[in-house]
Point group: C2
Chain length 143, copies 2
DNA sequence: CCTGTTCACTTGTTTATTGCAAGCAATCTG
DNA sequence: CAGATTGCTTGCAATAAACAAGTGAACAGG
């Protein structure tokens, strides 16, 4: 499967451009896994998620890496594995994800834990700061 | 073209559910047109946008209506036309759209006007109140 | 080492979705 | 009434996704 994307952009509208980056059925789920679920390897994305096919996962990881939304490093303990991680650009999607979660939780039956929804709603800033802190702490160790 | 969607959901995760509703290449653009660009008819979506095909537009409008994100009424002046409009559920996507706009504008070259980005960033609440006010004013006239 | 397993992909092949051109009934305009 | 317009629908080729089955490198145990 040739890596999809990199075709010419539809317009200069920021929403259109955003959608070209992450507006498909899977990219945002991978970002969610990285941001909220502590997943970081190919296998974890493949099995923990909603049933993405391995070729599609491979394609999306390459796209996201090309867009600089995630980065890829070899796992120090097991050279077969890679560790995927959000970049600054990726972690900055947190507010968008949070708003989408709140919207879904408000209008659809979801499995979102009410206390988390409550915190996102009323202590949004603190919640986002927390997400960022968690991300910083997972920083790859310096050599 | 049979209306797509209405297949069983992948998971109870709010992000996954949100993506099933609006996580395709076109739905959010239609919502953007309704929310920010004052477009409301089939023709306007078709021509003003990024080049959606008429069959896909038809499909997406039906899906969004089925999800209660938009509503459809006949135009009083021209019975050939329909007026599409955001519902409460639809207008509540405004924060998500705004965050996505800010993210895109921050990291990609977009055509977003700097003053609007500035207002979204620093007077976010007022901006959102404004969007909602505009939406309320466009309410269909009572009979 | 040798065997078996795991890992991150690739490589076909089938199936679903999209893009494109054309067509259509209902409605408007002259 | 003769176009033109509007909101779709239909048919078909092109593209992308889902599914199943590899592949080679790396690890774990004997």
């Amino acid at each position: 499967m040739k890596v999809s994307g990199a075709k010419q952009q539809r317009s200069s509208c920021p929403i259109s451009i955003g959608l070209e980056a992450i507006g498909d059925a899977w990219s945002l789920l991978i970002i969610r896994d990285l941001m909220f679920k502590g997943r970081s390897t190919f296998r974890e994305f493949l099995e923990g998620g909603e049933g993405i096919a391995s070729n599609v996962l491979s394609d999306r990881l390459q796209r996201l890496e090309a867009l600089n939304i995630i980065s890829k490093t070899r796992n120090a303990d097991d050279a077969r594995k890679f560790n995927y991680r959000l970049t600054q650009i990726g972690i900055d999607l947190a507010p968008t994800l949070v708003e989408m979660i709140l919207w879904s939780a408000k209008y659809f039956k979801t499995g979102a834990p009410p206390d988390v929804v409550e915190e996102m709603t009323h202590r949004r800033k603190a919640f986002l700061a927390n997400v960022r802190r968690g991300w910083e702490q997972s920083a790859p160790k310096a050599k």
